[in-house]
């Protein structure tokens, strides 16, 4: 279902490795994501997908290799600096600010977008007020986009699991990323909700966002990805369009299992 039009490179990993003690979680991995592309990253449990996310977003350090985003070297940058480059991720476990309302979650997500300085804030200069007003407007926009505007004043922690995942996405979107890394966004959602979520992804990508997606729901991955990268034991074992990868015997053996046809 590709519309990978422009061929500008967004993210590239070059011979990257990550070690945890004696365990090599990522072993000499190289792959690229083009601008505007949706890439699925799949692989068995423990293959190193989340670790790859942690690596790209600066939560763990590469043992070897280079990571580039639009030509900027990411190695050694701290997570918030990477986010500032437009690379924002969600987490595999539910991740929201549970004691804050959904609306406040969105506002927090908009953090980097505020224009007021410390002095504006302390001295209550006009720019502070306009900036806050803009942020509030944008927060509403985002909540409408993900369909949470009705929940705005509820504490995020009291929402059901599935909606909390949406809050997570809203948070990430609020940071206005140019590339979004989603770690199992639909796990815990039922089939219908998954379908809704896929529509959301489509809407997001229509805005030109690049997406790297980790997901075990094959219907979802195969449905939205332009390209799929398969990891196993920290190494890439296959790469290509969903159709090709799905038929790769190694992938079927290590990951998809006999029921692959069903997906």
């Amino acid at each position: 279902m590709g519309q990978a039009s422009t061929n500008k490179q967004a993210l590239s990993l070059e011979h990257v490795s990550v070690n945890f003690g004696g365990l090599r979680a990522i072993a000499d991995v190289s792959f690229e994501v083009q601008d505007g592309e949706v890439v699925g990253l799949i692989g068995p449990n423990g293959a190193g997908k989340t670790t790859a996310f942690n690596l790209i977003t600066g939560f763990v350090r590469a043992f070897a290799g280079n990571i580039l985003y639009h030509g900027t070297q990411l190695n050694g940058l701290r997570p918030h600096e990477i986010a500032a480059l437009g690379l924002v991720r969600t987490f595999q476990r539910t991740s929201v600010f549970p004691n804050n309302t959904v609306f406040e979650n969105a506002l927090i997500g908009l953090h980097r977008r505020g224009r007021s300085t410390l002095w504006d804030t302390i001295l209550a200069l006009p720019r502070e007020r306009t900036s806050e007003k803009e942020l509030a407007d944008e927060a509403w926009d985002i909540l409408r986009t993900v369909g949470l505007d009705m929940r705005a004043s509820e504490p995020a922690g009291s929402l059901p699991y599935g909606e909390q995942r949406l809050v997570g996405v809203a948070l990430a979107l609020a940071a206005k990323p140019s590339m979004l890394l989603l770690d199992e966004p639909v796990s815990g959602m039922n089939a219908s909700e998954t379908v809704k979520f896929m529509k959301l992804i489509e809407a997001i990508r229509a805005r030109g966002m690049t997406i790297l997606l980790v997901e075990h729901d094959m219907r979802m991955v195969m449905g939205v990805s332009d390209r799929v990268v398969v990891l196993n034991h920290g190494q890439i074992i296959a790469e290509g369009t969903p159709a090709v990868v799905q038929r790769n015997p190694e992938v079927v053996q290590a990951y998809l299992g006999r029921g692959a046809a069903r997906a």
């Binding site: 989340t50 942690n54 763990v60 595999q92 476990r93 770690d183």
Partner: protein, 290 residues
């Protein structure tokens, strides 16, 4: 050289009780995550228990010691039962505030009952020091070290080698799931706090005769215990033991060779330094993100 060796021997003996204080608190602060300010008071209570039973009621010293340890356990259990149990699930500052309240109440109870004058405790051990070359150490202190090591070993075994210990660790990582596994988690909470308190009382009961029993003796003990726990890494019994000995050595050598005025500062400076280099204490473990 003789002086240096004497310093080391002093440190060893002191380190034993530091370690004891430390492992007691690492159970409560490190594992249960309760910033427990009653720890020092239980230390003081341990000393006063021995004073009460050995000096006032005329019990055998060793029996008085045993009573003090048991008394510390019971007192700890009572604190947990009355003050902390109703606050399960509250955040760390809230429980801390309650232990501060308990600390104030306990210390002033001691003051009211025993007065401000420190009490001396006599023991069956001979006063004359054991002399080995240029080094001398009092028999009482050797006894203190031995008992401390036994208690440390026992606690380690309890936590890491028994089912109850595993249950304790599990409970403090995820109490609800532990409950699901059939554990009586209220009992575990009380037991853990009680054991930690008993160890503090044991340390006090051991040091009371070496020093004196005084109402404010617990304050510094509390501070040091916190320092030891952090030095060794939260909840790490081996770490706390090593941390205890390490702190004693640093203090002893610092006072001996640098400046006695900065004796206590040494320990705290080392803690700051250690945390700067290794932010999770000397014996840390990795956490996973994402």
């Amino acid at each position: 050289m003789a002086e240096f060796l004497q310093h080391l021997v002093n440190a060893l003996v002191l380190g034993g009780t530091y370690a004891l204080l430390g492992i007691g608190l690492t159970l409560i602060f490190g594992i249960m995550r309760i910033v427990n300010f009653t720890h020092g008071e239980l230390f003081a209570f341990g000393a006063y228990f021995v004073y009460l039973f050995a000096m006032l009621l005329g019990f055998n010293f060793f029996i008085a010691f045993a009573i003090a340890v048991v008394g510390g356990c019971l007192l700890g259990a009572a604190i947990e039962f009355i003050l902390l149990r109703p606050l399960r699930g509250a955040d760390i500052e809230t429980t801390m505030l309650v232990t501060i309240g308990a600390w104030i109440i306990m210390q002033n109870t001691e003051l009211l009952v025993w007065g401000g004058v420190a009490k001396a405790i006599t023991t069956p051990f001979p006063e004359t020091p054991l002399v080995i070359g240029a080094i001398s150490v009092s028999p009482l202190r050797v006894f203190v070290l031995v008992i401390a090591l036994v208690l440390i070993g026992g606690t380690y075994a309890l936590i890491h080698r028994t089912k109850l210990g595993m249950g304790m660790r599990a409970t403090f990582q995820d109490s609800e799931t532990a409950e699901l596994m059939g554990l009586n988690i209220r009992g575990i909470y009380t037991a853990t706090f009680s054991i930690g308190s008993g160890l503090a009382a044991a340390a006090g009961a051991l040091l009371g005769p070496v020093f004196l029993a005084a109402p404010t003796m617990g304050d510094l003990a509390s501070l040091k215990a916190f320092a030891i726990v952090i030095l060794g890494g939260l909840g790490n019994i081996t770490g706390a033991t090593i941390g205890g000995f390490l702190l004693a050595i640093i203090e002893e050598l610092g006072a001996g060779y640098i400046s006695s005025g900065y004796r206590d500062a040494m320990g705290f400076l080392i803690i700051i330094a250690v945390l700067l280099v290794k932010p999770t204490g000397l014996f840390a473990r990795a956490e996973r993100i994402g």
